[in-house]
């Protein structure tokens, strides 16, 4: 079974989907470091904030945005297969409808978060 996933484009896409996980963890760790530095005091936090503002980290985060977006796409793409059937007026919801609804929900939630942060924050 060594290298089995190289045999079929379907498996390569699956592995790409799974490979988003370390990046999700990486972002969680960035946030965690921020929280810990916040607990340690103003100086530590400013240091973390400064690091985030460096070109390297901004580029890294821009790449992370793309990877997270890919995660969103793959998450809702597989969802019709992973969730129980949804029956609306006696008919099973088509897989494309479920995927579309999921991505639409992600877009709306993200917009809501943006509005909250850009216009609601002090």
């Amino acid at each position: 079974m060594d290298g089995w996933w190289r045999r079929d484009p379907f498996f390569i896409r699956y592995m790409a989907r799974e490979a988003t996980a370390p990046f999700v963890a990486a972002y969680a760790i960035v946030l965690l470091v921020g929280i810990v530095s916040l607990a340690r005091g103003a100086d530590a936090y400013e240091e973390w904030l400064e690091a985030l503002a460096s070109t390297g980290w901004i580029v890294a985060h821009a790449i992370l945005v793309a990877i997270f977006a890919y995660h969103t796409y793959t998450w809702f793409q597989i969802m019709p297969k992973t969730m129980p059937p949804v029956v609306v007026r006696g008919r099973r919801l088509a897989p494309e409808v479920i995927t579309f609804a999921g991505i639409a929900a992600a877009v709306l939630a993200s917009l809501a978060l943006w509005i909250l942060v850009a216009y609601g924050a002090p």
């Binding site: 079974m1 089995w4 996933w5 045999r7 079929d8 379907f10 498996f11 699956y14 799974e18 597989i78 019709p80 297969k81 992973t82 969730m83 129980p84 059937p85 029956v87 006696g90 099973r92």
Partner: protein
């Protein structure tokens, strides 16, 4: 023959006791547009090499006998057409993840054993006598399991499943789909027994939702959905144990 074209079939050959390892043998054949890969193999067997061994029966995607790896993907040979693989050569190999018995014939005993383990019959929820009449079911109740009853046991989904390939203890797609067919039947009362298998380490939890099983299924059974619905059911049962009054 009118309008024939040529393609080379590259077929895996293996004879236990004679071959030390599987080899590929090339068979150039002529075919017409309406010929399936199965018909190509039959032409080889009938006119070129009678020793070539493969399973087939119905020729119309109902019996589930002629599953094989066609150009690297699990397909029914009767449902794949030679014209779609031009210019060739077209690689034909036995189903992935099963031991080869001879040429394109695989040993299916593991799958048959798994089918036996899922209690593949209805154990009535409440016994009824003949006088009481038949078990009635609404269209909505039928809808809940009907698609999962379409499985023809062709095992393409097992050949498509990397998790089964990595660890064959995994109950796998088709057996779980059939398990789900009985577990979601309103007449059945053996859910608890089947859930023990679902919940176990050999049950549904090796699945990583690759989803290829459902892609290759010739009957649109969607075994990936059956497996994942049972993850939900299994998760519910996992937590239900901690509720008061539950075992």
């Amino acid at each position: 023959m009118a309008d024939t074209r040529k393609i080379v079939l590259e077929v895996l050959r293996y004879t236990p006791g004679q071959s030390t390892a599987p080899t590929l043998q090339q068979y150039p054949i002529e075919f017409t547009d309406d010929m399936s890969v199965l018909q190509g193999l039959q032409q080889v067997k009938d006119f070129v090499d009678g020793s070539l061994t493969f399973r087939w029966s119905c020729r119309m995607a109902i019996c589930g006998s002629c599953g094989m790896m066609i150009d690297g993907a699990p397909k029914l040979a009767c449902r794949a057409f030679l014209r779609d693989f031009l210019p060739g050569p077209l690689r034909v190999e036995p189903l992935e993840h099963f031991p080869i018995e001879r040429d394109l014939v695989v040993d299916i005993s593991d799958f048959v054993d798994k089918l036996g383990r899922i209690t593949p019959w209805i154990e009535p929820r409440e016994p009824r006598s003949l006088e009481q009449g038949e078990y009635l079911q609404t269209p909505a109740q039928l809808e809940r399991f009907e698609s999962f009853s379409h499985c023809i046991n062709c095992m393409l989904c097992y050949a498509a499943c990397p998790q089964y390939g990595l660890d064959s203890r995994f109950l796998g797609p088709a057996a779980t789909a059939l398990l789900h067919r009985y577990n979601s039947d309103s007449r059945d009362g053996a859910q608890a027994k089947r859930m023990e298998l679902v919940n176990s380490e050999e049950g549904v939890w090796a699945c990583t939702a690759v989803g290829y099983c459902s892609e290759v299924c010739p009957k649109a059974v969607d075994p990936a959905n059956a497996v994942n619905q049972n993850k939900t059911a299994s998760a519910v049962s996992w937590f239900a144990r901690f509720l008061p009054g539950r075992g």
